[in-house]
């Protein structure tokens, strides 16, 4: 049984269909990439999964449980957390306060251990523990957004464009860390416009076009597919 199974998902903004029947699966332990151009429905897919924009029809099963009508806080509780598009860290809160917010629903005793883990993954965050997140660089804020999502101790981590607007050298760092997070046992669903990076770390990929899945294959195969190269890899 896949960890996440999405079937014929349709999501609307008002009367505009953003997803017109998206189906995909993510197995436990995988990194899966969604690529596609602007407006293809990548972010909407993530927002539908996390409950921020509930789908109109179709099903989302997580661990076999239907969650397409579940409110966001219960989805976080079930083990899905998200680093949202454009990072959206709490600008006037410190790094530490942001990370604490990530553990908002938790009351267990492991929070401190997870905080140490996030600081191990992103030593920069430890250095800036008391700094307001709004005063940090884009790359640092992206690290914080990922770290904050990890503080919920997710089984499935949703990452929305982790390379957007970030210096290339930091993108390398962030992608190394994404692989490390996955090795530590977190399944990852990754959305990227920057397909090169994403396909480099993932096992499988889906290509979204105007709200439907146009193509799906192993990441290596997608990277060598001439159509994908032309449209998304700038070859």
């Amino acid at each position: 049984m896949p960890l996440l199974e999405i079937d014929e998902l349709q999501t609307y903004y008002g009367n505009i269909a953003a997803l017109k029947g998206v189906s995909l699966t993510v197995d436990e332990g995988e990194i899966v990439t969604l690529i596609g151009s602007n407006g293809a429905g990548k972010s909407t897919t993530l927002r539908s999964i996390s409950g921020l924009t509930p789908p109109r029809s179709g099903s989302i099963r997580f661990n076999g449980k239907e969650i397409s009508r579940t409110p966001p806080q219960d989805i976080v509780r079930l083990g899905i957390s998200q680093s949202p598009e454009a990072r959206r860290t709490f600008q006037r809160m410190t790094v530490r306060e942001n990370l604490d917010m990530g553990a908002y629903l938790r009351r267990d005793k492991e929070i401190g251990a997870d905080l140490d883990r996030v600081y191990d993954l992103f030593p920069r965050l430890k250095e800036r523990e008391r700094q307001k997140s709004g005063t940090m660089s884009g790359g640092e804020q992206q690290m914080l957004a990922i770290g904050r999502a990890l503080m919920a101790r997710p089984k499935l981590l949703l990452l929305d464009e982790p390379s957007m607007g970030i210096a290339p050298i930091l993108v390398d760092r962030i992608y190394e860390t994404i692989v490390e997070i996955n090795k530590q046992g977190t399944t990852i669903l990754l959305v990227e416009q920057n397909a090169n990076y994403a396909l480099g770390v993932s096992e499988r990929g889906y290509v979204l076009e105007t709200g439907t899945v146009a193509l799906t294959d192993a990441s290596d195969a997608l990277r060598t597919n001439p159509d994908v190269q032309k449209a998304y890899l700038g070859a």
């Binding site: 806080q73 957390s81 990072r87 709490f90 917010m101 908002y104 709004g134 005063t135 660089s137």
Partner: protein, 383 residues
Amino acid sequence: MSNLRGLLKGKNNLVVSLVALGVAAILPLFFDPLSNLTNNFILAAAFVVMALGLNIVVGFAGLLDLGYVAFYAFGAYTIGWFASDHFSSVNGGEGFHIAAGEFASNLPGIHLNFLVIVVVAVIITGIAGMLIGLPTLRLRGDYIAIVTLAFGEIIYRFAVNGDEITFGEGYKLTNGRQAISPIDSIDLPGFAPFDSAFSLRPFYWFCLVLVGIVLLVNFRLRDSRLGRAWIAIREDEVAAASMGVPLVKTKLLAYATGAAFGGISGAFLGSYLTSVNANNFQFGFSIFILAMIILGGLGSIWGVAIGAILLSFINTYFIPEVFNEVPRKIGLEFDLTILNFGIFGFLILLVMVLRPQGILPERRRALELEGVGAGDAIEVRAP
């Protein structure tokens, strides 16, 4: 480490609160117990309670509420209905009493002890707060302001025209501009009944106790999980939701707690002024309270308290007493009090230009508006 800091900070606030309340408690002893100044102190304290309530909604949770007067009205009508002879033929004209004072316990109508009234007012305004919260849940920013403004206006209209809404044995909903009066005075178990003809001090001290409670609740809430959730919603609603903050519940709790403080203060003012008049519940009052928290510093508990005291004294003392002769001296024949709101508006304008973060800003906002870390350039978030 941060726990230790939190404790120290908490202690500081406790010490400052006790000192401030202690000084405030001694203050009226220097003035005549019936003096106008004592009256001004009482009103200022009552407004501190209201402003701190509105601060939870606007300052903490970031929901711009322009209809706060509605909760003043609900609180005031709670005492109007349940501590006067408004429902005069209840119980066959015998009246209905719960722990009512000696004087009130022989009167017709419903007469509950003030402490009971406070509980009832909290319940009624809390529910009213959630009711106004519901339609605003899907809205953001300015749209919340519009809906709450309309709500405040609807309640005012009901208050004004309530004398034509009758039910039961000819009971009126309100007395409109005729006012429900007299209202029972406060009569606490173990204390002599409060008598405004004899001394105003007990009213003041009682209201200071209310201020103390409200301060305590504010500090505790701000540093609680709920408080952090409010601030997260204020900072970024979508991010807060994706962290698992339940938006509906968290926002409704902000409206309900904020409203409850308005209700407590409203009930107190009803009793102190011994009447509940629909004229008191106009839109301008919402702005009056909102101006206090903007002047003091949105979200800052001490700032809001100072803002409330300042505006209250400008309204009840400086404009009508200290500066009232100014127009006459420069050859103009008018009463300065008619310019009340013009003066408030001018003050807000001054604050916005000279010190937009307020007199005593909240730490978070202070940093932003003083441009700390400007070298690091706060990035504009992509749309």
